[in-house]
């Protein structure tokens, strides 16, 4: 690892100030992507500004069906939150299957979405749940937050504070993880509230997480797995790499979408 200077911020304001003073700083949350990347010398920030101990960024609050998850809440703490599991088990399940137990003990929701890895799980959930991302400067919908591969709307000194969403009537997340890295080769989050259906895909899109509007339209008339039988997922917008070709991913997206709908609708595939 190249040399770096570590700073521990006590507040969001202090973190933003430290970032302003740094030459080429990076915010550090759980560090589950950043530290390994630095170990490989693929990143060499001059300064690390640790957000993990900022109290205001911690914890899950559930108020009726409105959920707020603080940015440095770990995947483990999301996955084991009983109140949240009652109203939105899809998100607690998702959090409980990110990486491995050690990653879940350190990794945070804010870090995951700020990094916006095209194969990360949370972005699909937040897009399908129409979540609001609250930052140190503004609030914006997930659809405006996620921009592309490892790219978000965040400004250099802008910090994710929390995410908020209203729990849907029903939701499910199904992924096909790469057996070695455990990252999704395709992950599909389906959320349904009344007639409003949103389907978001991670792990597969060339430009990162995206909504699968054809699937949403097909499900609007008939919310069952068979409604997706004739769904054609366009491989031209999908990733192709050593793990899976775009055609294979197109098929995985469809199968994961059907599995999620099967779970929600309680109907066989």
């Amino acid at each position: 690892m190249y040399e770096t200077q570590y700073h521990r911020a006590a507040s969001v304001e202090e973190a933003a100030r430290l970032m302003g003073e740094a030459e080429d700083g990076k915010f550090l949350a759980g560090g589950m992507t950043l530290i390994p990347t630095m170990k490989q010398r693929l990143a060499s920030p001059s300064d690390l500004i640790d957000l993990r101990r900022i109290e205001a960024l911690k914890g899950v609050t559930v108020d009726g069906r409105t959920v707020r998850i603080g940015a440095v809440t770990t995947h483990y703490d999301v996955s084991t939150n009983e109140e949240l599991a009652k109203i939105c088990p899809a998100i607690t399940n998702l959090a409980g299957h990110i990486g491995d137990p050690q990653v879940r003990n350190m990794g945070t929701i804010g870090g995951s979405i700020a990094n916006n890895d095209p194969a990360a799980d949370y972005p699909s959930a937040l897009l399908a749940l129409d979540a609001t991302i609250i930052t140190s400067q503004r609030s914006l919908p997930a659809s405006d937050f996620f921009i592309g591969l490892f790219e978000t709307a965040l400004q250099p000194d802008e910090i994710v504070v929390a995410v908020e969403f209203v729990a849907p009537d029903k939701a499910a997340y199904k992924k096909f993880p790469n057996p070695a890295s455990l990252y999704a080769m395709a992950g599909v989050f389906v959320a349904k509230s009344g007639d409003n259906i949103r389907v978001a895909v991670t792990g597969a899109g060339e430009g990162g997480v995206f909504r699968l509007k054809d699937a949403e339209a097909a499900l609007a008339g008939n919310f069952s797995p068979s409604a997706l039988d004739s769904l054609a997922v366009d491989p031209d917008v999908l990733l192709s790499d050593m793990h899976a070709s775009a055609d294979y991913r197109a098929n995985l997206v469809k199968v994961m979408a059907k599995r999620a709908v099967a779970e929600i609708s309680n109907r066989p595939m």
């Binding site: 530290i35 390994p36 170990k39 490989q40 101990r53 990486g99 137990p101 050690q102 003990n105």
Partner: protein, 162 residues
Amino acid sequence: MAKVELFVNGRAVTGEAEDRTLLVHFLRENLGLTGTHVGCDTSQCGACVVHVDGRAVKSCTMLAAQASGSTITTIEGLSPNGELHPLQVAFRENHALQCGFCTPGMIMTSVDMIRRHPNGLDEATVRDQLEGNICRCTGYHNIVKAVLDASDKMGKGAVKAA
């Protein structure tokens, strides 16, 4: 340089380290606690697992400076009086190690796993929960057996104590 203050295996320790020093190197080199191993440089193998504030963490993927202020338990801290921890006993009795390199990490992960599953474990859960630990020797079979065995005994102990 960063000042690092930790509470390791029941002992308060203070030291200095470069800001980029990983927790595992601080434990091994500054504190001489070489029971925690380094098996990879890609955060995949889990040989370096310790408990930070009660949770299993890969100490090669955390800076010592990040951990400063935390309570740490390493493999050495499991048997403070020289008497083996029930998981260590189970690993020995079930022949759950061959070269032993992965064992400290396997055991620290398993202690955390058993604590999080007070109602017991099944084989599928153990295999799933060992996802972050790699063993090059055993084929995992006896490791899984050992964890189930320890979980059984520790669980029963807990019931008895209650």
